[in-house]
Symmetry: C2
């Protein structure tokens, strides 16, 4: 078994108004950033996953998204990366 650092992004579906994003956009305009528009805010979740392969690690995280991390009715999720890391045992020699 190997350990993988996996990151997933959970965002509100495009068809649903992102009220938090709109509020941040107004605040950015108010402090001098008129060039920034269409702000959408989501969750970023990074974790360590023990699995036989990067594909398996990714599959676990997708199941976790479906069951807990995302609300599939109003949110989309995508796995950004799944990279192997050295285990503590290996690091300690």
């Amino acid at each position: 078994m190997e350990r993988f650092r996996v990151a997933v992004v959970v965002t509100i579906r495009r068809s649903i108004a992102d009220v938090q994003g709109m509020t941040v956009e107004q605040a950015l305009h108010a402090i001098g950033f008129p060039m920034i528009e269409d702000v959408r805010i989501g969750k970023y979740v990074e974790m360590l996953v023990t699995a036989a392969s990067a594909e398996e690690a990714r599959a676990y995280v997708e199941q976790a998204c479906q069951q807990l991390l995302a609300n599939p009715v109003i949110e989309d999720y995508r796995v950004m990366f799944a990279v192997p890391i050295a285990t503590e045992a290996e690091q300690q020699g």
Copy 2:
């Protein structure tokens, strides 16, 4: 001027306890994901930026992070990507 889709991730510094992440980790273990550990939760912000270049778009977003999107005392931020998109005018021919 061009338009760029820019994404930034704002995470709690490693030295600070991520209480939300710990809570999610416990919940994941409770529903059958013991292989997922060290859960850290952050914010993901995606936006459209009008700028002369990708470097300028990235610089605007870094300023916005310093001034509003992140709390530099307890959070780190990193720009994930800054990619040009076709403008509405170009799309309409």
